[in-house]
Amino acid sequence: METKIKSACETCAHFNAEGLKKLGIHTDDFDFVVALAGNPNTGKSTVFNALTGLRQHTGNWPGKTVTRAEGGFEYNTQKFKLVDLPGTYSLLSTSEDEEAARDFILFGKPNVTVIVADANRLERNLNLVLQILEITDKAVLCLNLMDEAKRNHISIDERTLARDLGIPVVPTSARFNKGIPELIQTISDIANGTIVCKPHRIKSVPDNIDRAVKKLTTEIEKEFPGIPNSRWIAFRLLEGDTQIINALKSGELV
């Protein structure tokens, strides 16, 4: 690893955490890749900026980040490359944004996926969270906009939520840099394998679909032993997703 790279922004706020360094857009020789996913309008870009020290524009619009933004930070001498994915409601449809986000989580194989959710609208946000948890088992839920939630008298039992989802949950208010050090620590723990997730898998599936999915999953696992997201691949095959079919054929998925 290179000796101390000069940070792209030395003026930005520092955290208490020892050994943290924001790398801005200088992300050569990274040790881990971190994907940042989430619904539109959850302050995802604010989290991105808080982590990297960059100042990407964060509009109060759904679907703002269309092009993929990248940045990085260094924590305890390990370098993390952060990729901000387009904000989407779901990964099941085929819009350009969703495909970009889906492809990165699936094919880019990030070491950690940070899912940013709006604490005020958790139910709606969980739609995407649960889908991502079908694809990857290395994820952390960043429960953002806690300040707004507090103002709106919403309280969330983070421990139960973490237990139900099977992944760590970190409450943050990225606008005020609250919770960001904890988020970084958790990202690092997952990347280094200190935290092992047992993600929630979608339960309330109707019987006929469940049977079909099980049949397919068995076949897929026979062919690709140890694949973490066989069930999700089965979902996509049942949907007739050409991209997944091609990826399966070319062996890109493993």
């Binding site: 449809s93 085929t94 609208r121 139910e123 709606r124």
Partner: protein, 340 residues
Amino acid sequence: MTTYNPISALILFFVIAVLLFVLFRPIKGWFWILKKNFGSNEKTIIEDILKQLYHFENSGNKVDMKTLVQVLGFNHTRVVDAIKKMTINDLIYFESDILKLTDTGREYALRIVRVHRLWERYLADKTGFSRSEWHDRAESMEHVLTHDEAEQLSVRLGNPKFDPHGDPIPTKTGKVAQVNGVELPLLPVNSIGRITHIEDEPEVIYKQIIAEKIHIGSLVRVVENNATRIVFLSEGEEFKLAPIVAANLTVAPIENEVVVEDNIARLSSLDEHETAKIIGISKESRGESRRRLLDLGFVKGANISIDLMNPLGEPHAYLIKGTSIALRKDQAAKILIKRD
């Protein structure tokens, strides 16, 4: 420049404009008509003949030269020429006056039917064309797509088995699935069925069905069935059809108990300060727009109310799962609700 004066310039301009309009206006422009006539070469005629024979055969009707020429609307001599060629190539044969498909002919016909129905599926799922346009567009596309292209299309669409009218799409090996179900008039009063097929010919009746907003896949419950009319409920609305029209709808009776909600209304009828639960999305909403609605949380069981009216009357913003989402009136009409 010597001959210039504004009037002649204007006249010249309008002459050119009118000429361009006559040549290139959509569908009826001379250019398109010429292109179509010129383009409907022998291959098109042969393929159309095969397809017609296939359909006649399937419906158990016999066909002779005269009816064929009538149905096709091509020039008589061209049809005769084509038929001559087809007999030589062993695609069809005569049994006294009646035209029949050979096995090779039937195989060929099935390929054409496959492309036609695949293309309709494509138009329905992946484009914004309205359903009254699907058939005509597929009619011209079926002569254009090659076998391989049809194959790719099929994969891209998830190898569909039925076209958007509910007709089976022949597989690449020529197998045809069965449409299950019975004609609507045969469904007993008060039993429930799912619409599996809407016949798109004759066009007059099909247009009437389209106008009635009846959709493949939706559930129906017959409430009255007699010689003069059939009355049934579907997606919260009551339909009254003459038996001859209703016979163009195929429904599969549903055996296991499904709860069909009564008092279904459409979201567009919701008033300010009312609350409701979503029952589902009408089958009228297809493809990408349906998925989008689902992704946004318009799913069965969700609570919904009006968040904001609009100064221009439309769209309204609805409060769903904690977020305010605006939908236009025609979209809201596709969401089925039950008032609390």
